[in-house]
Amino acid sequence: MESTYKPKASDFAPVKSNVHGEQISRPSLSYWQDAWIRLKKNTRALISLYIVIGLALFTLVGPYLWQVDPALQDLNQISQSPAWPKTSILVGPYQRFTPVVLDDFPAEPEEYLENIPPPENIRTSEPPTTQHVRLVWDPVGGAGGYNIYRNQRVPEGINDLGLPLGSTLGGNEVSYEDRLNLESRNYYYSIVPTDGFDESYEYQTLEVTPKLAITFNEAIDRGLIGPGEDRELNSEIELEFHPFGTDYLGRDMLARLMQGARVSLFIGICAPFLFVFFGIVYGGFAGYIGGKLDQFLMRFADFVVALPFLLFMILFKIAFGIGPGESGVIPMLIALVILGWPGTARLVRGQVLQIREQGFIEAARLLGGKNHYLIIRHIIPNTMGVILVTLTFAVPAAIFTEAFLSFIGMGVAPPTPSWGSMCNEGVKTMLSHPHELIFPAVFISITVLAFNLLGDGLTEALDSRMRSRE
């Protein structure tokens, strides 16, 4: 029996590859694509991302939509709460006030009375406006002068007359002009006669409600009246609209928040980017080189870490100094970078040491990869996750540092606003004008929060242990 098989030549031809064998059924995902998918599943992180984008738009695009000069002062509208646009009446230019001094009445009291009666017939000599309130009254016998007080509610007694505005020095000087931060609201003016030294226990009160007023010239200066436009005195005019209110110099809060965002976010984002970058270079270098040099470099980083952060922040900030007209943002940035880099450098070095020992680096080296290729193509991308997370957490820290420095008066120099310095101003008036504190504080909080949550989300998304397996 001839049972042995004789191989043919064709038997030695390569087998056709089996197309239906193992197949990658889904498109392969790179590390970043995968991370992005998982980040998208994290609602909180996603919302934070949108907030961050929103903040960026607010900062960069905002000023083009809301074209109000953040430095423009509007002393007619100081510390206004957010409100709809207000209308004001137009008045003529301010004329100096000439006090009413009676010739036929004695300036010095002729007799010293135990208690001087209050002055009668207090009235305003001109219609009261927020430009000025001018009071006149009838003289009282025995008076050697009058003290003028102003309150925002009905006085309940001699101890509740409100602000001591000033006094006149003579029983015959029976007028007073008030221009102190007038608003369009009810005021109660009280006049107390004095004998030239001691005050009487009697007073008389007048209620006055000044009308919001702006002078003609100012309206033209501010562009409220167009060129060639003819307006009559005492006619009504719409004032500038301040949707977020104004600050203590009548500057538009919205415009200042936008400009402040530039400073706060610039410091908040640039500083971490710079020191992280420096940290990567330094740490990556040290970690990769290893040996004595690594020891030395890391020892130096340890020194810098040991510097008390806030103390040195203040010291550096002052040492760099601020020239005239400079905002001091750059010195603050430099100080932050000087003190901030060692943290990242240590972190990156640790990562590099770990990655360097891994198989794929060895493989790449065997395939002929040069040092710089290895570093750029393999090592750095693999540390990216950790770095990104550090970065997102460094942003809120930097924003807080800026705010803190502004609070102790060593932040950016006015008129440049930052959220921190706006907060610092706002804290002082938080009872009377809460909006001056709330807005910048809310912006700081939102930003810090968004970056924190984004950092959390990134940590989870970039953690390779959590890579999606389906």
Binding site: F309, L311, G321, P396, C423, A441, I446
Partner: protein, 310 residues
Amino acid sequence: MLAYTAKRLLAGLVTVWFIATATFIAMHQVPGDPLMNDKAVSAEIRANLEKKYGLDKPVVEQYFIFMGNMLQGDFGISFTQQNRKVNDIIRDHFPVSATLGILAIVFATLGGVLWGALTALYRNRLPDIVIMFLVILGISVPSFVFAALGQLFLVNLNSFVGSSIVPVAGWGTIMHMIMPSLVLGLGTMALLTRLMRSSMLEVVNEDYIKTARAKGLSPTRIFFRHQLRNAILPVITVLGPQIAAITTGGFVVELVFAIPGLGRYFVQAVQQLDYTVIMGTTVFYGAFLVFMVIIVDILYGFIDPRVRLK
């Protein structure tokens, strides 16, 4: 162990030297003149002042003189408080800052561990949501806003009760310390709560918890003996740096609550360019932090047997 400690201490000393040198250099970069005051003085008086403070010597010589004195533990005499030794200033005011800092850390740790454990226990239920919201507030609102609000709260509390049960500012009794240390510890407390929460959630899935449960241990026992104890470890690691942040970060609170701490002195000294006080406080704080970290590291070796000190 001993060798390790000695090595760390030596490194610490070198670090302190580095801090002192960095401070010295930075300070002399500050423009301005420490000897100037509101009233201008004649050249003769100025020369005398310079001589008194040794500023007439070259900077390098000043550096060596300062280092020499520092080695003997003498920081010199304050420029602004002309009869006070910097050593006395530190001795008088550091304990205040330290008390404030320690209390704040205690508050923060107790609060953080408690809230963190609670949120993990009630994960995604109402207590978790409420506490986490407060935590978010805690990490995202600057401390000076909290300080101002805290003081305002005390004023209203006192006028509501009708007598001043809690002082609104000042220092001296335990009552004075409560609000400032709460405010100071708030940020750290928020941080620790977050940390504690995630660490608790991680521990829940560990094998030894499952084993304990399988053994039939009561949930309370598992919670306290196994879960809490293991979850607390990462919290302890961050305490070291946090202590540093808190003790030097007390300026704002010291300012708002009129507390005679060292932080206020430093800010004032920088403003006044008081060379000796700047040097003294920075070097002292720096040394304090360096050795604090060393101590925490060594202690950690005792607490966690997995960590071996080399």
